[in-house]
Amino acid sequence: MKGSAKLLIPLAAAAFLLFAALPAAAIPNWLPQNVNSAYGEKVDGLYFGIYIIVAAFFFLTEGLLLFACIAFRARPGHKAKYLHGSNVIEVIWTVIPALILIGIGIAQADTWTEIRLKFPSESNPDVTVIQTFPKQYEWHFRYAGVDKQFGTADDVYTTSIHVPIGKKVLNKLASSDVIHSYFVPHARVKLDAMPGMLGRTWYTMDKFSVWDLKAGKMLIVSAEELAGKKTAWAITNSPTRTAFAYKLVEASTDAPDAAIKKGMKKYSYEVLPAERKTAQVWYQGKIQEVPIGEVDYVFHRYEIACAELCGMQHFNMRSFVYVDPPEVFAAWYSGVSEQAAKTGAPETTTSRWKLNWDKAHPTWNKAIE
C-alpha cells in the first residue's frame, strides 16, 4: 500500500493536470458566428462573462485540490491536523459566492426581458412577421403578403424563409402535432413550438451567408463586405425566377478519407444551365447582369434545426433562412405574393392554418415596443 501510494502521486497529479488542460482547449470560440445584431452580442457577452467567473473558480478550487493532494499526502513524519472547521471561513465562502451568483442573475435579467418580453410591433411596416407552423417533420411558414393581412389570398406559404438584412423579424410559433423547437444557431434563437399555445420570438439578422465559389465554402459577410463582390442567386433562393444562375449540389460522400466520414455531405454550386454565359448578380447595391466568369459568390443560407425530440425523423427536421438585401427581399416578397394571389394556396396546406393567430396570445405575449 505504502509503495503504491508513492507511485500514485505523480499519477494523480498527471491526471489532474490533464483535465486542467482541457478547459484551455475550450478557450477558442466554438460558437457559430453571431449574426443577430439585435441582442446576439449581449447573449455572447454574458456567455463569456460567465466563462471568466467560472474559469476563476475552476482554477481556484481545482488548484487548491491539486495542491492539497501533493502537499498533504501521507508520508513518514507527516501528521494530519485535528480541526473541525471555522465559522469565519464558512461565512466568507458563503457570502462571497452568494453575491457573485446574485450578481450573475441580475446581470442576465435585462437581456432576458429584452429578448422575451419586448416584441417589435406587428403594425410596423419594417417588421417581417412570419407565422411558423412546424409539423412532423417539416417546417412550414406563412407571410401575410403585400396586403399585410394573414388569411387573405396573397398569403405566402413556404418551407424555408427569406428575411431582409438588418430588419426586425418576428416569428410566431405554434404546432399542430407534437412539440418542436425553432432553433437558428447563428441568430441565437430558440423557442419551443407548443401545441395549443402561441410563442413569439424575434431577432435581426445583419450578415449575409454566401458561398465563395473560388474557395468552395460558406462565408458570413456584412453588407459592406459584400458591396464589392458580385453575388448571384441559386435556384432555391432567387428573387425572381429569371435570375437563377446556380444550383446547389449536395453530394454525399462515402470516401474512405479519414476526415470525411460516411454520410458527410460535400456542397458545391453548379451553373444552371451549364451553357449559361451571363448571370444576374447583386453588385454595388443593384441587380446587374455580368458574365458568368465574374461571379464571386452565391447567396447561401443559415440552417434552422428542430431542438426538441419530435419523433422518428427529428434529426432530419431542417430548414433554412436566407438573408436578402432589402431591395431583393422586397422584389421577392411582392413577386411571391402576387403569384400566390393568382394561383391560390394549395388545399392541403390551408387546413393547417385555421388557428386564430391573433386572439390566442397569452397575456404576457403582448407587444411592448
Binding site: A80, M194, P195, G263, G311
Partner: protein, 602 residues
C-alpha cells in the same frame, strides 16, 4: 446536555436479536435482512448499469459512424426495432436508445444503487440498528424495483418498439399512440415501469426516514450521524415528498393513453393531418411542470447520497474530521429546500411566461451556493490532512474534482439568455454527465470498494482497482469534456446524427473521438465488474477495520453477522474523530468508551 444523558442510556427498545432464517428462499430470495437486500439492489443495479452502458455504446457508434453497421452485434440486431436492414442504428431506434439509456440509468441504476444498495446496507449500521424500521416493506421495495426493471426492458419487445420520447417523455409525442413508432405499448410499459419504481422509491424513503428518526442507538445524536446517513435522510425526504408527484404524472399520462383522456392534449391536434379524436382541453406544458417538479428534486436524489459517500471517504483517508460538519448538513437541507423551487429552469425555452423564467433563474443561481460551500468544505477537509491515496480515495477525489466541473457548467444554463442557445444541446449532456457520472458514479465506485470488505469479508483487488480508476478517469474526461464544446458549437442532443447539418459537419471529428473514448470507458467498467465478482470469492480476507475508520460498522467483524451488532452499540462521539492526538492510533471508533482515550464530544 442531552448528548451526555444519552451516552449512558439504557438498552435501546430494540434489544431483540433476530434469528437468521435457514431456508434458501427466505435467506437468499425473499430475505428481509437489510444487508442482503442491499446486495440484491447492488447486483441488480450493476446488471442494469451494463444494459444502460450498452445502449450508450450503440448510440456512440451511430453518432460517430452514422448509418454504418454496428460492429460485432450488427448482424444480430438486423431488422430489429433498434437497427435497420443493414444492421445500422435507425433514427427511430436511436430515439429508443436515448430514451432507455436515460431512463435505465436514472431509475434503474443510479437511484437504486445509491438508495437501495448503499442506503440499505449502511443506514442501519451507521445508526446502530439491527435492521431497518420495516424489514418486510424493505423487501417489498426491492420486489417492486426488480419487476419494474424487466417491464422497462420488455418495452423494447412490444408493439412497434420501445418508448422513444426521451426520458422526459414530453406529450403530445408520448401521449398520442400514433405520433411515432414505439409510442403505443412501448410507452405504456415505460410508464408502468416508472410508476412501479417510483412506488418502490416512496416505500424506501419512508422506511429509511423512520429508521433514522426512530432506531438510532443510544448516544447517536443527530450531530453524530455520519454524513452518508444524513445524505440518505435528506434524500428520503425528497423521495417521500417528490416521488408521489411523479406517480401522479405517470397516472395522468396513462389515463390519456389508455382511456382517451386529454390531460395533456390541447384541442384540434392532428398527426399527419389526421385528427387525434381526443376531446382536447388539456395542456402539454402541464406535464412539464408536474414532471420537473419531481425530476428536478430527482436530480438531487441522484447526487446527495454520492455527496454523503464522498464525505466519509474524504474524511477517512485525509485522517481528519470533516471540515464544517454542521455546515455540510445545513447545505444538504438547503439543497433540498431550494431543490423544490428550481424546476422551471428546464422550461426556459418552452414558452412558459418569461417572468417566471427570471424567478427560476434566481432560485437556480442560489442553489449553486450550498453545493459550492460543500466543495469548499471538502477541500478544507483535505487541507492539512495526511492523505492516503487508496483506490476509494482516488474515486472520492475524482468525485470532488468532476462535481466541481459539473456544478460550474450549470451556471451557463441557469442564465436564461445564455440558455437560449445551449438549451437542448450537448452542453446539457456534458453538464449532467459530469454530475451524475463524474460525481455520483465515482462516489459509488469509491463507496463500493470501501465497504466491500464489510459486505463480503474480502478486499477488492488493488491493482485492478488502480487500473480501473486510471482508465475511467482519463476516458471519462475525454468523453464528456468535448461535449461542452459540441454544445458550444450548437450540436443538438437527441439527434441520431449531426451530419445532416452543414454547420456541424466540421466538428464531426469530435464525435468520432468521443465515441472511441467511450468504448474504452465502457470496457473499463467490465474490469470493475470482474474485480467485484472475482474478489467476492478470491479477494484477500479482510480484517474488521481495514481502512482504520470510525463509524459503527467497522467495530464488528467483516462481514457482519445477520443481526449486525451482538449488543446495541453505545455511541460516544462523532463519526470523524481522526488524528485527535490522543492515544497511539489516529482514529477512535464511535462506540469506543471515552476512557479508552479520545474526546467525548463530536
Amino acid at each position: 446536555m442531552s448528548e451526555h444523558a444519552q451516552d449512558h442510556a439504557h438498552p435501546a427498545p430494540h434489544e431483540h436479536i433476530p434469528v437468521e432464517p435457514t431456508g434458501f428462499i427466505r435467506k437468499y430470495i425473499f430475505s428481509i435482512d437489510h444487508k442482503w437486500i442491499g446486495k440484491q439492489y447492488l447486483v441488480t443495479s450493476l446488471f442494469f448499469l451494463i444494459v444502460g452502458g450498452g445502449l450508450a455504446m450503440l448510440m456512440r457508434w451511430q453518432l460517430a459512424y452514422p448509418e454504418s453497421t454496428v460492429p460485432v452485434i450488427g448482424n444480430l440486431l438486423k431488422d430489429s426495432w433498434i437497427c435497420g436492414p443493414t444492421g445500422a442504428v435507425s433514427p427511430e431506434g436511436f430515439n429508443q436508445l436515448v430514451t432507455m439509456h436515460g431512463s435505465v440509468m436514472i431509475f434503474l441504476v443510479i437511484i437504486p444503487i445509491l438508495v437501495g444498495a448503499f442506503g440499505n446496507f449502511l443506514i442501519p449500521l451507521h445508526v446502530g440498528a439491527r435492521d431497518v424500521a420495516f424489514p418486510i416493506l424493505n423487501a417489498l421495495s426491492y420486489w417492486l424495483y426488480l419487476p419494474a426493471g424487466f417491464i422497462f426492458l420488455a418495452s423494447f419487445f412490444v408493439g412497434d418498439g420501445g418508448a422513444g420520447a426521451g426520458w422526459t417523455s414530453y406529450p403530445p409525442l408520448s401521449d398520442l399512440n400514433n405520433s411515432a413508432p414505439g409510442m403505443h405499448y412501448g410507452q405504456v410499459f415505460w410508464l408502468f415501469g416508472v410508476f412501479l419504481v417510483g412506488f418502490s422509491s416512496i416505500l424506501g424513503g419512508m422506511n429509511f426516514m423512520t429508521t433514522i428518526i426512530k432506531l438510532r442507538a443510544p448516544g447517536m445524536t443527530w450531530t453524530r450521524m455520519p454524513l452518508v446517513t444524513w445524505a440518505q435522510f435528506v434524500t428520503a425526504l425528497f423521495q417521500l415528498l417528490a416521488t408521489p408527484v411523479l406517480a401522479s404524472a405517470m397516472m395522468l399520462l396513462m389515463m390519456d393513453k389508455l382511456f382517451g383522456c386529454s390531460f395533456f392534449i390541447p384541442r384540434d391536434l392532428a398527426i399527419s393531418g389526421e385528427p387525434t379524436g381526443r376531446a382536447g382541453g388539456g395542456h402539454p406544458l402541464l406535464w412539464q411542470h408536474i414532471f420537473w417538479f419531481y425530476s428536478h428534486p430527482a436530480v438531487y436524489i441522484l447526487i446527495l447520497p454520492g455527496m454523503g459517500l464522498a464525505s466519509d471517504l474524504l474524511a477517512t483517508f485525509s485522517r481528519k474530521p470533516i471540515f464544517g460538519y454542521k455546515v455540510m448538513v445545513v447545505s444538504m437541507t438547503g439543497i433540498m429546500g431550494l431543490g423544490f423551487i428550481v424546476w422551471g429552469h428546464h422550461m426556459f425555452q418552452s414558452g412558459m411566461d418569461p417572468r417566471l423564467g427570471t424567478a427560476f433563474m434566481m432560485s437556480t443561481m442560489l442553489i449553486a451556493l450550498p453545493s459550492g460551500v460543500k466543495c469548499f468544505n471538502w477541500i478544507a477537509t483535505l487541507w492539512q490532512g495526511s492523505i492516503r491515496f487508496t483506490v476509494p480515495m482516488l474515486h472520492a477525489l475524482s468525485f470532488l474534482s468532476m462535481f466541481i466541473i459539473g456544478g460550474l457548467s450549470g451556471l451557463w444554463m441557469a442564465a436564461t439568455p445564455v440558455d437560449i442557445f445551449i438549451h437542448d444541446t450537448y452542453y446539457v449532456v456534458a453538464h449532467f454527465h459530469y454530475v451524475v457520472f463524474g460525481g455520483t458514479l465515482f462516489a459509488v465506485f469509491g463507496g463500493l470498494i470501501f465497504w466491500f470488505p464489510k459486505m463480503y469479508g474480502r478486499m477488492m483487488n488493488n491493482t485492478l482497482g488502480y487500473i480501473h480508476w486510471t482508465l475511467t478517469f482519463i476516458t471519462f474526461n475525454l468523453v464528456f469534456f468535448p461535449m461542452h464544446i459540441l454544445g458550444e458549437a450548437g450540436a443538438m442532443r437527441r439527434v441520431s446524427t449531426h451530419m445532416v447539418y452543414e454547420y456541424l459537419q466540421p466538428i464531426q471529428w469530435m464525435n468520432v473521438m468521443i465515441s472511441h473514448s467511450a468504448f474504452i470507458l465502457g470496457f473499463s467498467q467490465l474490469i470493475f465488474i470482474f474485480n467485484l465478482f472475482w474478489s467476492m470469492y478470491r479477494g484477500k480476507v479482510a480484517t474488521g477495520n481495514p481502512w482504520e475508520s470510525n463509524t459503527l460498522e467497522w467495530s464488528g467483524p467483516s462481514p457482519l453477522p445477520y443481526h449486525n451488532f451482538d449488543k446495541v452499540p453505545i455511541v460516544h462521539r462523532g463519526p470523524y474523530e481522526y488524528s485527535t492526538g490522543e492515544g497511539t492510533k489516529d482514529w477512535i471508533a464511535q462506540d469506543e468508551p471515552a476512557s479508552a482515550g479520545g474526546l467525548g464530544g463530536h
